[in-house]
Symmetry: C2
């Protein structure tokens, strides 16, 4: 099997997530790509901090140029961030014929054109899935999934920290300052969290999406920016009353007259909109194309593993491209069968274990509730909440129960016994409840 | 510029959307791919119905085998649907060395393994982005965006028609039968709509996602299926009261013990969940990977243009792959700049025209409302709703107004005048309102 060698500059949070992903899923990745992906060198000035990933000491260097010059390294991954040294390293790597993967949104937003052109001139790939939306494959969706579309509108919740603050203010009714203080104490926000709160970080990401969607490179400074620090609990309460919620939105819209709206500011979003349920540190990007119509991409916008996942997806794309001959099919369809042998069979529905909703139609007599609850209890089904409504004139009394997790086979057995109860008039309705994430 | 030739079998709704997209965005597609994509032949038995796309008569044939045998055609696009002839054509095209793009979910769900293996054996690509989730690039996200992940859970709203029915039942309190009748009358549902309502269509799509996510090919029949026809308005009302809404969910979950949950059934979903705001005919697919964490993909699950967009994205991927040498960079970063020259500049924020939210802190005196409304009216800002709360003891009275669309520069001018009003005590808050899609 062929081998593709990777060098990583910057072994902080995202660097560690990247290496962890490459090591943990080494085998399935090799099967999916058709080659081994090997981390050959890691450059970082800090060789002491434990990053929670076990890597042999001799793999480390404090000299990034060492891996840029290494003729065996195919892909250089820049995860140090910032505008100075990072740019220097990326340009040097591209000029040296290395493919580059980066998560550096500020650099791409401010110097993207120069970097893209250097890659093109040197006939190598520059990939940056991790630069926008963390673990969400939004760059790929724009470049490939929506490749036949003229993009009309982009609306993004692109900064997880500010979305977390807004969620706390909304759910707990606390002030901006209180929410920020809590977020800093919990390590969710930097101290001070200015670039997250004033819209700069979201604008960096918007600039990258704009450069992919609308072709024309724009100056980062021409994006209008307004932060969330002026918002008060009052506004959140009134928004709710009016059927809205508050989000920090990054918006780019083709006006059709040669001009583009490009702006980041707090916005009221209808509670019915799919973006309204983007809570906590999640990100979401709404993209409307002329043929695809409205689409949305949602997930963790930051964090060690999600961002690592995005970086590795870029490494895999480049490796696939390097390894497969141009006549080989696109992503061999069954290539990863072997790697997922851990699935042997489909679980029978009887063994499903989730919460259930029951709706009973009962006669209005004493003891009904206890008879029903008795049958459920006998079948290991434990009730978490009950709604009983007043009866209609001469009609049956509806009783609704939500249960804790129960086994589908127990529910079936209970239903047989419940159907025999003479206190139940109509058919009992059972619906499975989905609780998770 | 090189040229890639496409033959299309089936010129119904999706076929017309595909050809329309290829023609309408011909130039930007050529720029993005680096070659011209040309529709060379279209096969359909019905040559009479007007599909709303202007195609020269001589391009049509009633004999699909003609384009399968055509040595100039590189990519065969199968959009006729069904299990019989479609399978025959796809297998013949693959064996004849053609790349194949298809939207045929039933065929892939039931005979995917044979088709994938035939493609692999003949060293050609088989692409099927349009088979799941219409215009949503979910297949690509699974294959590429999440390529470094072990997939843990998939939860999809995969059938737009049943989601439309559930939305109507929820919003209008009507019965299942009434909602179905309305949907059929409006042309949103087939008559009878059985495959949509009984979970078969969603299960076909789930089978495809499972084959990509968990490697092991599964038998379509082993997916548990339950439809939505038993649901009543009562259940929807109780669900709401309990903080849930009702969705037809397709679920696949790796249990970690070698077994997979694979099931389609109505489910209660928390109103706070991102899936709860998937209304009408929209689809959404929630995918959790071990590194990326939870992600979600949302958009139109069906329809002429969205499905056409997905088909064309596959044609583009294959064409890019055919045209570029293996040493060429992945999707040249600036390749499509030229095609979007219609963007010339960023629109100044002053020319933004959207609705606004104002919150005033006023003294509790007669005439305040008219003074505020007067300033707004003088600046072409028209109010759509007002909330005025009772004042706190000695405190200011909060007055909230939502406006119709107004110009940002008018809002700025109004703010200057409002700040001079002595009836307003605190700073006035202004927030932009996002109304669309």
């Amino acid at each position: 099997m062929e081998q593709v060698n990777v060098g990583i500059i910057g072994f902080g949070t995202v660097g560690a997530g990247t290496v962890d992903n490459l090591l943990t899923n080494k085998e399935i990745i090799a099967n999916r790509v058709g080659c081994n992906i090997v981390v050959k060198k890691i450059a970082d000035l800090d060789l002491e901090t434990d990053r929670g990933v076990s890597v042999p000491r001799e793999m480390f260097t404090t000299d990034a140029s060492e891996l840029i010059k290494d003729s065996e390294i195919d892909i250089v991954v820049e995860l140090m961030g910032g505008l100075g040294k990072a740019k220097e390293f990326i340009i040097a790597a591209l000029k040296n014929g290395k493919h580059v993967v980066t998560a550096n949104k500020a650099l791409l937003a401010e110097h993207g054109k120069e970097i893209y052109e250097t890659a093109e001139k040197n006939n190598v790939s520059i990939c940056f899935e991790a630069s926008v939306g963390g673990g969400i494959p939004v760059i790929r969706s724009l470049r490939e999934g929506l490749s036949s579309n003229r993009i009309r509108t982009i609306m993004g919740i692109l900064n997880g920290t500010s979305n977390y603050i807004l969620t706390k203010m909304t759910q707990e009714g606390i002030s901006y300052n209180q929410a920020v203080k809590e977020a800093i104490d919990l390590g969710y926000a930097e101290d001070p969290p200015d670039l997250d709160m004033d819209g700069t970080d979201a604008a960096h990401k918007l600039a990258i999406l704009i450069s992919l969607s609308f072709g024309t490179p724009i100056s980062f400074d021409s994006i209008y920016r307004e932060g969330i620090n002026c918002l008060t609990p009052d506004d959140i309460t009134f928004a709710k009353e009016l059927g809205y919620c508050l989000k920090l939105l990054a918006v780019a819209k083709n006006k059709g007259d040669g001009r583009l709206e490009a702006r980041v500011h707090p916005a009221m979003v209808s509670q019915d909109h799919i973006m309204a349920n983007v809570h906590d540190a999640f990100n979401a990007i709404f993209i409307e194309g002329d043929f695809a119509g409205p689409t949305l991409y949602y997930g963790y916008g930051a964090g060690r593993n999600p961002t690592g996942s995005a970086v590795v997806s870029d490494i895999i794309s480049i490796a696939r491209h390097m390894v497969h001959d141009r006549n080989a099919p696109l992503v061999p369809p069954l290539a990863h069968t072997d790697s997922d042998k851990d699935i042997i069979s489909i679980q029978p529905i009887d063994e499903l274990k989730i919460p259930y909703y029951f709706r009973f139609s009962a006669v209005d007599k004493p003891g009904v509730l206890s008879k029903i609850a008795g049958v459920l209890g006998d079948n290991n089904i434990s009730v978490s909440s009950v709604i009983q409504k007043g009866r209609e004139v001469n009609g049956p009394v509806p009783i609704v129960m939500l249960t804790h997790e129960a086994l589908e086979s127990d529910v079936k057995n209970a239903m047989i016994l419940l159907n025999r109860l003479d206190v139940l008039i109509d058919k009992t309705m059972v619906i499975r409840v989905v609780e998770e994430a």
